[in-house]
Symmetry: C2
Subunit: 77 residues, 2 copies
């Protein structure tokens, strides 16, 4: 699994826990819904700026999303 | 200050604390020295993959670098 693939899983999980749609997250974070969909499927590599934008929309710290990726990579989920 | 600008400062500080050159960090992280130089000057936006590569070369967690950026943004340094 690639880093962007793991990030996609983390992003989707985090969004679903908050019960918000891709559309709503797009609106909150100022990104395109299509871009969020591509990231959730591991088809785009997020920049740090994108991670900050998403974390604003998800109301978590950017470093929390990165920690979740680290955790999943280390446990090979 | 932009997010990539703050990241550049964090990257340079972290590299200098470890007393390694841009050349050495490039070698350790599998990136171009020129790319590292551009990032340290805030001229490139790092992807999550790049942050993972750099953190390997710096022997820190990727989330540590992101936490440092959060800290500097919140304290407006």
């Amino acid at each position: 699994m690639t880093i962007e693939g793991v990030f996609g899983i983390v992003l989707r999980e985090c969004r679903k826990k908050r019960r918000i749609s891709q559309e709503e997250l797009a609106h909150r974070s100022g990104l395109d819904r299509t871009f969020i969909s591509l990231m959730e499927r591991g088809k785009r590599k997020p920049t740090l700026n994108t991670i900050f934008a998403l974390s604003g929309g998800l109301e978590v710290k950017p470093s929390f999303l990165v920690q979740e990726v680290e955790f999943k990579i280390h446990t090979r989920v």
